[in-house]
């Protein structure tokens, strides 16, 4: 009974104050659309840097005449290091096959195999690559060199760190801005109706009786705005993304943004909470009659 009454009161006030309702809904829509876009873009970039970081590895090249014993001893040593995630042995023959595949012209005239066998060692995190390389200082017997692309690695790590930071700060700013903007719009709509609230209180309406419809109204605006934002994002994703992505070389199939349903859920939840809490908090001031 009471819920029905709240809903009919909320609905009547939505219709009676259509312009402020539309303004609040549009504010939610714009804020949530931008936030959604940013989350999608940000998580995609983070996932991309993650993928790039995975390619950071230490390569241990042996002398071409290294004995099997020397190779094995390095292999068993690797197994004891805590930083190591996986080790792949590339024999001289494997190296040649790979080379032939990549550069058929260069390798066509070769009589023998000039390539050494090697270990490709992947560290648990990209940052550990330096420590890992340091463990082979000085190089053990039979090892010709230990390489990890010092400059490239450092560059990748630095860029990844900056991108992560920018994404985090940007999200916080955008989230704060939308919350403040939405709360402000709600505040304006309530402020324009403070006389009405005063009358309600004077005829004996309890605080919850006044608050109920307003909060419900905030929820309706939040829901409507965020759903439209989600629909727009979906359209953008389906229509615009493929033509853009066609031009960007994707470094791996594992690169992806946060899943769309999850982003949609976040947006709707944020709007609902902001709508309801924004109305409730703003009302407090006007209820003290």
């Amino acid at each position: 009974m009471r819920a029905k009454l709240f809903f009919s009161e909320a609905w009547r006030s939505v219709m009676a104050n259509l312009s402020t309702t539309v303004a609040a809904t549009m504010t939610v829509l714009i804020g949530m659309f931008l936030l959604g876009l940013f989350i999608a873009l940000g998580t995609w970039v983070l996932s991309w840097t993650g993928e790039v970081k995975k390619e950071v590895q230490v390569k241990i090249f042996f002398d071409t005449n290294a004995t099997q014993g020397q190779i094995n001893s390095v292999g068993s040593k690797l197994a004891t290091f805590p930083e190591v995630k996986s080790v792949k042995f590339v024999s001289a023959a494997d190296a040649l096959t790979k080379m032939q595949k990549q550069y058929p012209d260069l390798t066509s005239g070769l009589s023998g195999n000039p390539l050494p066998p090697s270990y490709e060692v992947q560290p648990k995190t990209a940052e550990q690559v330096v420590e890992l390389a340091a463990r082979f200082e000085p190089v053990p017997a039979g090892v010709e060199s230990v390489k990890y692309g010092k400059k490239t690695t450092e560059r990748i790590l630095q860029v990844a760190k900056i991108i992560g930071g920018v994404f985090l700060i940007g999200s916080i700013i955008l989230l704060t801005a939308s919350v403040i903007l939405i709360a402000n719009t709600i505040r304006l709509s309530i402020f324009s109706r403070r006389r009405e609230i005063e009358v309600m209180k004077l005829v004996g309406a309890s605080n919850w009786f006044v608050r109920g419809p307003f909060i419900l109204e905030g929820l309706i605006c939040g829901l409507a705005g965020s759903i439209i934002a989600v629909i727009l994002l979906l359209v953008a994703k389906e229509a615009a993304l493929p033509s853009i992505l066609g031009r960007i070389q994707s470094p791996g199939d594992d690169v992806s943004a946060l899943s769309f349903p999850l982003i949609a859920l976040i947006l709707v939840a944020v709007s609902l909470v902001v709508g309801a809490v924004g109305s409730g908090v703003t009302l407090r001031r006007f209820l003290q009659i």
């Binding site: 009974m1 009471r2 009454l5 009547r12 009676a16 006389r195 009405e196 005063e198 009358v199 309600m200 209180k201 004077l202 005829v203 004996g204 309406a205 309890s206 605080n207 009786f209 009659i289």
Partner: protein
Amino acid sequence: MAGNGAAPDQRAAGAPMIVFESVTKIYEPRVVALREVSLVIDKGEFVFLVGPSGSGKSTLTRLLLKELDPTNGRIIVGGRELNRLKRSKVPLLRRNIGCVFQDFKLLSDRTAFENVAYALKVQGESRAAIRAKVPEVLGLVGLAHKTGSLPDELSGGEQQRVSIARAFVNHPPLLICDEPTGNLDPDTSVGIMQLLYRINRTGTTVVMATHDREMVDKMRRRVIALEDGQIMRDERRGGYE
């Protein structure tokens, strides 16, 4: 309020409707609106509060509704001590006090019917009860034919009748009127006063703050005159001066 509504002729019997015990109200920092005011109003009385602007009439009515709390002193309305009344119980208090204001305070986007119905809705009255009570009380104030009109479509006198209907629809034991005729022409005011008089005769205590000298002199009811926050005069069958 305190149990059964008192019958018209039991004025002196039982507990009084309103008791002020040396009530002082100071608006910070140092505006004294009421100074040590003590008074008793019995059930079923019709009382005029008179005095120049700023004499404390409005403060007194707002204290009765617990819109304000007194700085000092005790206020008892219908057996409830307002100082001890919890915030959450204030709506209950107000449902037992009808109020009528100079500026009507109607909800402008609702019809006469809906404005009156709102006072019933807030206390969870059923739809059937609302449909029965609202036309009845609108008929009582003489607006049976205007139930579907918005406040803007009504004259000042009609709007005030709607607001009286809203105040009276619960049949509260106490009706507080703050300058109900302040915005109305003399002829319309007479109609409003007759309405309030009829409501008073059903046993409802009426407290009316007013500037309307002529009306007070004609009615010959109890008059409490305030000046500078103090009671200057309290007469059983008084005039404005």
